[in-house]
């Protein structure tokens, strides 16, 4: 779960529009306004960089990026080669 923890930390410190808000794995990052569309691009770039993989534009959707839990599940499937 190292990725999960690092993602939470990265989003809280670098992407969140309200750095004082507490973010957990199930926090809805979108309806709370914590992450805007440019923030999502930052998250995607961070994931690609760190994991040395490519995320297809068609995979950058709400269902994969609404929460940190969903992001790690999506990345898990991606790296499992599914």
């Amino acid at each position: 779960m190292e990725l999960h923890a690092d993602l939470l930390e990265m989003i809280a410190t670098e992407v969140s529009l309200d750095p004082s808000a507490e973010i957990v794995g199930s926090t809805d990052l979108l309806l709370t306004g914590l992450v805007d569309s440019l923030g999502i691009i930052d998250v995607v770039a961070w994931l690609e960089d760190r994991l040395d993989l490519t995320i297809e534009p068609s995979d950058i959707v709400l269902e994969h990026f609404q929460t940190v839990d969903l992001m790690t599940e999506f990345i898990g499937r991606l790296t499992a080669g599914a």
Partner: protein, 542 residues
């Protein structure tokens, strides 16, 4: 006969034949105009029961939804003035707006109200109508006796109330934008000014009863008036676009396909995202007929890419400050093939324009100057700011004509009578279509602990999007903490107004009169940003 009141639009739409449009919710469920009319009438009745009187303000803090569409019209039909607020906004400016407008009722989503307005609601004691679970509001300190649930507010018990008579000159809504002092200022439109806009807009967007308009702009943004009032006027369908589609271009593209959207009206930023990241080549967007854009210039290269990707779609550039609504437009005759900016076009019917120099005298044809507009679509005033209103609105020399509004925009007119936008005469900038006053942002930064001076300027980000950069001078002995600064900004500025980069200086250049030379610093910020872009592009090529 043409309707003359926003509050008449739904009753009129409800008499259209079955199947003539309506509102599609985020869940894809279609609600006909008859149903929307009925719900808005019940809500208006509830508002009257709760003591709302003609001219009262009702604040609306709700994500886009069928409910928010109903709420806007319910408030108008109760004779009140609707004040849409940004559900993704920051607590401090929102509280300032609520205190300025003194609403008699606040309508909102419970979670959003609790997150952004709880201290104000707890202190002032407004009555609240809320969708969603009421627990989040009560635990935020809003007494349960002050809260009405949405279902109760639109129940059948209030459907037969007699609604007040509204006059065209009555105020209808207030749109708030950032002010140069950091204090938001409210732009007040009447039923007459809004209806004059909608009357023209449906023609220029070529909107008919068969069309399906994606409602992209948020409600606190004046561009949302097309879907709110234009779709019921012609009996078209408004497709509600939510936060997911705003954030994720792929989700937006899918929804445009599944809802067979025919018309888009959005800021260039969002259309650019759609084209670059929406994977639109995988979608069937053949229903799409017309794209209108407004809010800021569209970079010609980016616009050319969008138009090449959607070759069958007609594109119109629409121009107008929120104070006047749209007053000029330009239909793109072909895909732009150079770097020349797209013109803002010719004035709309009954819109008079003048181009003046610094002394207020008309310039010769072809010479640049400030654009003045007199149009029936013009606002009434700035909310409770008579000095500011007098500064920007000047009586027309011919009695009975709408006043002249000084736009602050520098334009020139070409021999064909087409207007070209050249820039601003003050320090207002547009970031992703949102109007920002640089001085207002600088005031917020300078108020932060430890900051001596702050200068903010627009820069072009690596992906071609515009953003803000800040240059700071710290007070002696204070270290800069970027995270603390971003936290400070988050509660006080809209997200687009938070600078993406902060650079530190020990002193700042001054002008001959000893003032900080903001123009020079803004130039430096822009050049530094461009250098970063070059470095990044260089890196990508290797």
């Amino acid at each position: 006969m043409k309707p003359s009141l926003l509050s008449d639009l739904l009753p009129r739409a409800a008499t259209l034949p079955e199947g003539s449009g309506g509102v599609v919710g985020l869940d894809g469920i279609h609600h006909g105009w008859g149903e929307i009319e009925e719900l808005s009438r019940r809500l208006a009745g509830t508002l009257l029961d709760l003591g709302v009187r003609p001219g009262d303000r009702v604040a609306l803090l709700h994500p886009k939804s069928v409910e928010s569409f109903v709420a806007v019209h319910g408030v108008l039909r109760a004779g009140a003035v609707v004040v849409p607020l940004d559900p993704l906004g920051s607590a401090v400016p929102l509280a300032s707006i609520v205190e300025q407008i003194e609403p008699s009722i606040v309508i909102g989503a419970s979670d959003t109200l609790a997150r952004l307005l709880a201290p104000v609601l707890a202190r002032i004691g407004h009555r609240v109508i809320s969708t969603g679970s009421l627990d989040s509001l009560t635990s935020a300190g809003v007494g349960i006796e002050r809260i009405s649930g949405w279902d109760e507010a639109v129940s059948a018990s209030t459907r037969d109330h007699v609604l007040p008579t509204v006059e065209p000159a009555d105020s209808a809504y207030v749109i708030f934008t950032s002010g140069s002092t950091g204090e938001p200022k409210g732009i007040v439109h009447s039923h007459a000014s809004a209806m004059a806009y909608v009357d023209r807009a449906i023609d220029f967007h070529r909107l008919t009863s068969l069309d399906r308009l994606a409602g992209i702009p948020p409600l606190h943004f004046d561009m949302s008036t097309l879907e709110l009032y234009g779709t019921p006027w012609v009996g078209a369908t408004a497709i509600t676009i939510g936060e997911a589609e705003q954030r994720f271009p792929v989700n937006l593209a899918r929804r445009l396909e599944s809802e067979r959207v025919t018309h888009l009206y959005a800021v260039p930023f969002l259309l650019r995202q759609l084209q670059q990241r929406g994977a639109i080549e995988q979608r069937d967007l053949t229903a799409l007929k017309h794209i209108g854009y407004a809010g800021e210039p569209f970079a010609p290269g980016a616009l050319a890419e969008l138009m090449a990707a959607l070759p069958e779609v007609e594109v119109t550039n629409l121009y107008g400050p929120a104070e006047t609504n749209v007053v000029t437009s330009h239909d793109l005759p072909a895909i732009p093939d150079g770097l020349d900016a797209v013109p803002i076009g010719r004035p709309w019917p009954d819109a008079e324009v003048r181009i003046v120099d610094d002394t207020g005298a008309d310039v010769a044809a072809g010479i640049e100057g400030e654009l003045l507009v007199s149009a029936p679509t013009c606002m009434v005033e700035y909310w409770r700011r008579p000095e500011l209103t007098a500064e920007r609105l000047h009586p027309h020399e011919q009695p009975g004509r709408p006043p002249w509004y000084a736009t602050g925009d520098i334009v020139r007119i070409d021999p064909a009578g087409v207007l070209h936008y050249l820039g601003r005469r003050d320090h207002q900038v547009k970031i992703r279509g949102v109007r920002l006053e640089l001085e207002g942002i600088e005031a917020v930064l300078t108020d932060a602990p430890g900051i001596e001076h702050a200068v903010v300027g627009p820069v072009v980000a690596p992906d071609g999007d515009r953003a803000l950069a800040a240059c700071l001078v710290m007070q002696p002995g204070v270290a800069f903490d970027q995270r603390a600064m971003r936290r400070w900004c988050a509660g006080r500025l809209p997200a687009v107004a938070v600078p993406t980069t902060f650079s530190l200086r020990t002193d700042l250049p001054t002008t001959a009169s000893g003032k900080i030379d903001r123009a020079a610093i803004r130039d430096v910020l822009a050049v530094e940003a461009a250098t970063l872009v070059d470095a990044k592009n260089e890196g990508n090529r290797i």
